[in-house]
């Protein structure tokens, strides 16, 4: 019974501590590159680190280092690194090859690696036994398992048998009959939010015959770290970028739509229609204004540089706006609306320069964005509530 209690109490410490082997291996940059456990996510830094550790860049048939892909979530690039195996972490006298594919968002200088596939092939021969290779593979998988456990929470672990590792770069290479797929969640280093990751690993052995009739056993280990947030390969970074764009569109639609009318559909040469939209906007924003009985809005030549003037300030029943046709024809739509709201701020809301925020500033900017217009108008209306 006591032994049982001791076991229950100690289990969490065993579970959450790091093994000595993991600690030792995790300090080596060779292992970090091999297992994608480096701290960086920037492709250029990772490639520099790999080259410092003896990897070479592979050039494709077109003599290019980068290969371009067009996925469902946009364009991405890949590059291949390779290295001949010599001692170190591997069994003594090992002969073999590491091939590593990095997938990242362009451009190279600022790209983020969202997926990586690594294949390690080792040849079994008189100096390196099958058992040594097997032990090495077990040790590496155990390291990767431990890394996942320490940085994330495992969601599921499944074996998949339907053509794993389909990627083009390995299409001509050995075929793996299964994949051990681990889904886990962890805090993303890029966005600091809990994100879902997938890790896949598989191994196989194949006897390959040489030209002279002799042959060797090749032992392959392959694994893929996939930083995609959702199945289908939308990276965390891409996802947020895409979300920002769609969100802006939605919120712009909310903004452009004033009481059921889209501001962009209003004829900007029909001043009365524009003024009526302003009045509607005031009502929607809960801004009280006097009952307007007379609207006089005309195009009339004014001094150069003056786009419009309001003459009905403090005449509560009247709106009198004069617009300079020369300046109006040159101005952008957003500037026309901005200036009209400014003048109606005087005329209808009786605001002076210095009241109601930037929209009521004495001087106009050379150009405005729609964001300027909506933010400054929102401020002006809110200042009256």
């Amino acid at each position: 019974m006591k032994l049982f209690l001791l076991y229950v109490l100690c289990t969490p410490f065993f579970i959450f501590s790091q093994s000595r082997d993991f600690k030792k291996l995790s300090k080596s940059t060779q292992i970090q590159i091999l297992t994608d456990t480096y701290k960086s996510v920037g492709v250029s830094e990772i490639v520099s680190l790999a080259i410092e550790n003896g990897y070479e860049l592979y050039k494709n048939d077109e003599n290019q280092v980068f290969s371009d892909f067009n996925g469902s979530v946009g364009a991405f690039k890949s590059l291949t690194l390779f290295k001949n195996i010599k001692g170190g972490f591997f069994p003594p006298n090992s002969v073999g090859l590491i091939i590593k594919n990095l997938f990242f968002n362009p451009p190279f200088e600022k790209g983020i690696v969202f997926s990586s596939i690594t294949q390690i092939s080792l040849i079994e021969y008189e100096n390196v036994s099958s058992k040594q290779i097997d032990n090495f593979q077990k040790r590496l998988i155990s390291f990767l398992d431990e890394d996942i456990r320490l940085k994330g929470l495992e969601i599921s672990k499944t074996n998949v048998y339907d053509s794993p590792f389909k990627h083009a770069n390995f299409s001509g290479g050995p075929k793996y009959s299964y994949t051990n797929k681990i889904k886990y969640t962890a805090i993303s280093g890029v966005n600091k939010i809990p994100s879902e990751f997938t890790f896949k690993v598989s191994k196989r052995k194949e006897f390959l015959t040489n030209k002279d009739g002799s042959g060797d056993n090749y032992h392959y280990l392959i694994y893929e770290t996939n930083l995609a947030m959702f199945e289908g390969g939308l990276s965390v970074n891409n996802l947020f970028e895409k979300s920002r764009g769609i969100k802006k569109k939605t919120l712009d639609n909310l903004r452009f739509n004033i009481g059921g009318e889209n501001i962009k559909d209003i004829n900007i040469y029909d001043l009365k229609e524009m003024i009526n939209l302003f009045l509607k906007d005031c009502k929607l924003n809960n801004v009280k204004f006097p009952d307007v009985k007379e609207i006089t809005s005309t195009f009339e030549p004014l001094d150069d540089g003056v786009l419009a003037i309001a003459l009905g300030m403090f005449e509560d029943n009247k709106i009198i706006i004069k617009v300079n046709p020369k300046e109006w024809s040159k101005a952008s739509d957003v500037k026309r609306w901005y200036i009209l709201y400014h003048e109606l701020g005087h005329d209808v809301l009786n605001l002076k320069h210095g009241e109601g925020g930037k929209m009521m500033f004495n001087y106009s900017d050379k150009e405005y964005t729609w964001d300027d217009f909506f933010i400054d108008k929102e401020y002006m209306f809110n200042s009256l509530n």
Partner: protein
């Protein structure tokens, strides 16, 4: 000793994993109330900031979602819709990130609805919540001694005790010989507006809207095992009166900092 230990282990297991904790649904409800209020008050910049601060992402126009990835928690997804009178409202769904799990029965949805609204009610045998407008009148009736005593043959103050501005106690009959005291508390919520097809939970809250409605399609005519969506809508009454227009805009930070729905009785202007 061994039996006791096993019993404790079993108890811990059921307490930890046997019941799902849906407390986070209350947070979703609070956030949705804020979102609908900001849309109604036409505060798009504040809305944009709020959506970012609360980790809503948009992968489809007019639609926003929030998932805690890898968690067993349900995510929330809402779309902004416009009715024929050009009033905007939210259509909300609760769903798992793993779409294969998203088969909800009537029974499941009733449990979700109960948990979503649970903290707005907090009604039990000991406590009863009453919307402020009714509470205020009833309490005034007690103070003016115009409310009839519940228990027969007892003096007036044997049946009511005023506690403070937002609560009083009422003595109720449990059965022939037994009585119990129930605390009646003022609330911002009422579900009196429901009808045959819909149940409506109204929140008389901060901001310029007179109230916000959480509307559920009633499922009581369906079999409990029938699969149904988790959908509900959030609608506001538009502010029209001068009283509404003169109210302060929705103070998002203050509202979000409150622990309980009735920490402030918003329609009590005194």
């Amino acid at each position: 000793m061994k039996k006791l230990f096993l019993f404790l282990l079993t108890l811990i297991y059921f307490q930890s994993f046997g019941q799902k904790n849906y407390d986070y649904l209350n947070d979703y409800l609070k956030e949705l109330v804020v979102i609908q209020s900001l849309i109604t008050e036409n505060r798009i910049t504040d809305l944009s900031n709020f959506l970012d601060e609360h980790s809503y992402i948009s992968l489809k126009e007019n639609t926003f979602s929030k998932f805690e990835i890898g968690s067993e928690k349900l995510g929330v997804n809402f779309s902004i819709n416009t009715n024929s009178k050009n009033k905007r409202f939210l259509v909300v769904n609760l769903m798992y990130q793993d779409f294969e799990k998203n088969n909800f029965t009537v029974n499941d949805v009733q449990i979700l609805r109960y948990n979503l609204m649970r903290q707005t009610k907090a009604t039990s045998k000991e406590t009863f919540k009453l919307i402020w407008s009714f509470f205020k009148d009833t309490k005034k009736g007690i103070e003016d001694k115009t409310v009839q005593g519940v228990a027969k043959d007892s003096s007036y103050y044997d049946n009511f005790k005023i506690i403070d501005r937002y609560s009083y106690k009422e003595r109720l009959r449990e059965n022939n010989d037994n009585y119990f005291w129930q605390t009646v508390k003022a609330s911002n919520w009422t579900d009196m507006l429901g009808g045959e097809k819909f149940s409506v939970h109204s929140f008389v809250g901060p901001g310029k809207m007179p109230f916000i409605n959480i509307v559920f399609f009633k499922l009581n005519k369906f079999e409990s095992s029938k699969e149904v969506p988790t959908t509900f809508t959030i609608r506001t009454s538009q502010f029209n009166s001068d009283d509404d227009k003169n109210k302060a805009p929705f103070n998002v930070d203050f509202f979000m900092s409150l622990k309980n729905w009735d920490d402030v009785i918003w329609s009590d202007n005194n």
